[in-house]
């Protein structure tokens, strides 16, 4: 099949992108070697969360927004809690705050292990799924599942369960664990740290498609912590640097036909990339020393910043980081006197963000004098990455046109998966359509 004749049109359609969370599709048209259309459509049924929460109490809202995503419920809970605490002027106790980081660390370990081993590694190794991968490399998949289980169990210890934890409330937590409950997790985290290092070494040997480009990386940045639910919103090139509540001053959402997600752009209409590659690049200094050293040993820091396929290595680095940080939090833990700070409702408005495993999940909440929600804006990471995914598809597709159709399609899907799109969050369905005409 030739593709260079100027009049030749080739289109790639995938009507159900797999190994992503939710439902979406890709439609890509190449004419004369140039991509004339690249659309990642999100078909997920709209669920109207921003309306369902109106008139509700903030603590009930924290339970509701978890249901936007079964894989990253903490991202939604923490962003909402941060905004409400900003409105009501609540300072969370430092040990309670550390417990929130520990709960969120569990979510990173669970979500990244899931993505690296079950969703993304099969692409690099040429399998349809981790179940197929396990037929040839059972120990590899078992290591991924073991790591994932530690993340889930850590979430259960702090949050009650791994999917839709029940412990976060405005001002802190409902219950704080005894030190012994956390210590029971410690040996498992020590083992998980070694598995996380092995994971990074394993994925660093993968063969990533050569696709380097300049892109604007955006994440939170905090002077002394690896970015999670505090700090400023910054870009790696310094062009963006605003308070955590000021997302709207530099970004906006647009609604495009054919998608149930709102796309986000910078004020000047540009796309940007969120997620592990952005964080590892922007916050390299704040990585746990063990994770920083592991990253250095891979020699991939520059590639992670420029090649989206290497997000798998960035996830490996963060697996190491959060296993190491979780151990440190447990070692320093002293059970706080009370699980939450009381607060007084008031009318107000505030934005807040937290770093979901796939990038900044930004919220803006408004309350009335009784503290009830009057308005909500929820900007999930995937709808922010969607524009960059489409830009990357445009850039990457010309390089795969010499491959046979199924292989070219697979590469395009692999690129989309590099972003760990969580389409249930973005509204919620990925479907990649690649047909040759």
């Amino acid at each position: 099949m030739t593709t260079d004749a100027p009049a030749f049109e080739r289109s790639f359609r995938v009507e159900g992108i797999t190994r992503v969370e939710g439902e979406g599709s890709l439609h890509l048209v190449v004419r004369g070697g140039e991509v004339t259309e690249a659309r990642l459509k999100i078909f997920e049924a709209p669920r109207y969360f921003e309306q369902v929460v109106v008139g509700r109490h903030p603590d009930q809202v924290i339970d509701i927004v978890a249901r936007i995503c079964g894989i990253c419920p903490e991202a939604y809970q923490m962003s909402a809690a941060g905004a409400f605490e900003s409105i009501f002027g609540v300072q969370v106790d430092p040990q309670v705050r550390a417990l929130r980081r520990l709960l969120y660390a569990g979510e990173y370990i669970e979500s990244h292990a899931l993505h690296v081993y079950l969703l993304h590694a099969p692409d690099f190794l040429g399998y349809a799924s981790a179940i197929d991968l396990a037929k040839d490399h059972r120990a590899v998949v078992e290591q991924g599942l073991a790591l994932k289980k530690v993340g889930n169990d850590l979430m259960a210890v702090v949050g009650g369960r791994s999917i839709h934890p029940v412990n976060v409330r405005v001002g802190g937590l409902y219950r704080v664990p005894a030190r012994d409950e956390l210590l029971a997790m410690r040996p498992r985290l020590v083992a998980a740290l070694e598995q996380a290092k092995a994971t990074l070494e394993f994925v660093a040997r993968f063969d990533a498609p050569p696709f380097e480009r300049e892109v604007r990386l955006v994440s939170l940045r905090h002077p002394s912590e690896y970015p999670l639910f505090d700090g400023r919103i910054v870009s790696h090139d310094g062009s963006i640097d605003v308070g955590i509540g000021e997302w709207r001053s530099v970004f906006h959402e647009e609604h495009h036909e054919g998608t149930n997600a709102l796309h986000a752009r910078t004020a000047t209409g540009e796309t940007y990339q969120l997620g592990p590659s952005a964080r590892v690049t922007i916050a390299a200094e704040q990585l746990h020393p063990i994770a920083r050293e592991a990253l250095e040993q891979t020699g991939l820091a520059g590639q992670i910043a420029r090649n989206p396929f290497w997000s798998i290595a960035a996830r490996g680095v963060e697996l190491v980081h959060y296993c190491a940080e979780a151990i440190d939090i447990i070692d320093a833990y002293e059970r706080p006197a009370r699980p939450f700070e009381p607060w007084t409702p008031r009318a107000g408005a505030a934005g807040w963000g937290s770093e979901a495993p796939r990038g900044i999940c930004w919220h803006h909440w408004e309350t009335d004098a009784q503290g009830m929600v009057t308005r909500a804006q929820i900007v999930p990471p995937t709808s922010q990455n969607q524009g960059q995914i489409e830009a990357d598809l445009r850039g990457f597709a010309p390089g795969v046109l010499d491959l046979e159709h199924a292989e070219a399609t697979r590469r395009l899907e692999q690129l989309i998966r590099s972003y760990d799109p969580c389409i249930s969050c973005a509204t919620h369905f990925i479907d990649l359509t690649v047909d040759a005409s």
């Binding site: 797999t18 939710g22 049924a45 669920r47 309306q51 079950l118 179940i131 999917i163 839709h164």
Partner: protein, 298 residues
């Protein structure tokens, strides 16, 4: 392995409607059992986990999510045709889930409030449980479902027996766990007396009230419990709001919510004004979204 080549393995599909993906994720969260399950079952459709696709036929299909768009309505009928056993998993598929809160409200207004171009958005006026449209052979409740119950269901299906699932209130599980009642000791409203267990009375163990993830248990006395919440100082609509969560669209929660005006932005509809019995008895969310009507149109 020799057995696998002679006896065909059961074909399992996992299908998603309007949902958060959390209940199907529970299958991947069976970390210790997943590979053993995959040895015995042919997972032919599970788009979250595998690139292999199949539109059926299935021996068992697990359906996550509420029926919420015109496409999903077509899809659920197709899936039903292709499946020997259809099992709904989770609060969205069994009770409509949190998106069913829109069933009490004006859908067009919701759509216009969230999206700049509501005309780009296709969705049904209501989000409904799967059983409102097609026959369901078994259900797993919960928001999310419980991993142990999922494993029990899969094992039972494999061995051809009935799954052994709990049939008691959260209260019973809570007492057995030796917990102090949060309602009696701390005055925290708790749905434990009227909610099916499955979580192991998780929330009372975290010093908070149950919020109904597993939905109403049989013969739940919601009127008595809501009056109790009012005695504890809640207004009737606040009492109704405690039920208006992930399983609020399931009866008898649904009728109570309607009567008390539990969904924000709605006003109470006294029971006397409604027809005498059953789901339709509580004026609530029927019009365009009446399951029977919508189902009948297909």
């Amino acid at each position: 392995m020799a057995r696998a080549s002679t006896t065909p393995r059961p074909r399992l599909g996992v299908v998603k409607l309007a949902s958060c993906d959390g209940c199907q994720l529970m299958l991947l969260n069976l970390e210790d059992e997943l590979l053993a399950i995959a040895d015995r079952i042919d997972i032919v459709e599970f788009p979250e986990a595998t690139t292999h696709r199949s539109s059926g036929p299935y021996d068992v299909v697990l359906v996550e999510g509420a029926v919420s768009t015109p496409e999903q309505l077509e899809q659920i009928h197709e899936v039903r045709r292709e499946a020997k056993l259809l099992v709904t998993i989770g609060a969205c598929a069994t009770a409509g889930g949190i998106q069913a809160m829109r069933n009490w409200r004006d859908h067009d207004a919701f759509r216009a409030a969230v999206y700049a171009h509501p005309e780009y958005i296709e969705s049904l006026a209501t989000a409904q449980p799967v059983a409102d449209y097609v026959k369901v052979d078994a259900e797993l409740r919960g928001c999310p479902i419980n991993a142990g119950q999922l494993l029990e269901l899969v094992t039972a299906l494999l061995t051809g027996r009935r799954p052994d699932l709990p049939d008691e209130a959260v209260c019973a599980a809570c007492k057995r766990a030796g917990r102090v009642c949060v309602m009696v000791s701390q005055g925290i409203p708790c749905l434990g007396p009227v909610t099916m267990t499955g979580c192991g009375a998780l929330c009372p163990g975290f010093d908070r009230g149950c919020y109904g993830c597993f939905g109403p248990r049989e013969s739940a006395n919601v009127d008595s419990l809501s009056r109790g919440f009012v005695h504890m100082g809640r207004t009737p609509s606040e009492a109704g709001r405690l039920f208006a969560g992930f399983t609020g669209y399931a009866e008898p929660f649904r009728g109570l919510i309607t009567e008390l005006g539990g969904v924000p932005g709605t006003t109470p509809v006294p029971r006397a004004t409604a027809a005498p019995e059953g789901a339709a008895g509580h004026a609530a969310p029927t019009p365009a979204g009446s399951p029977a009507q919508a189902g009948g149109q297909r």
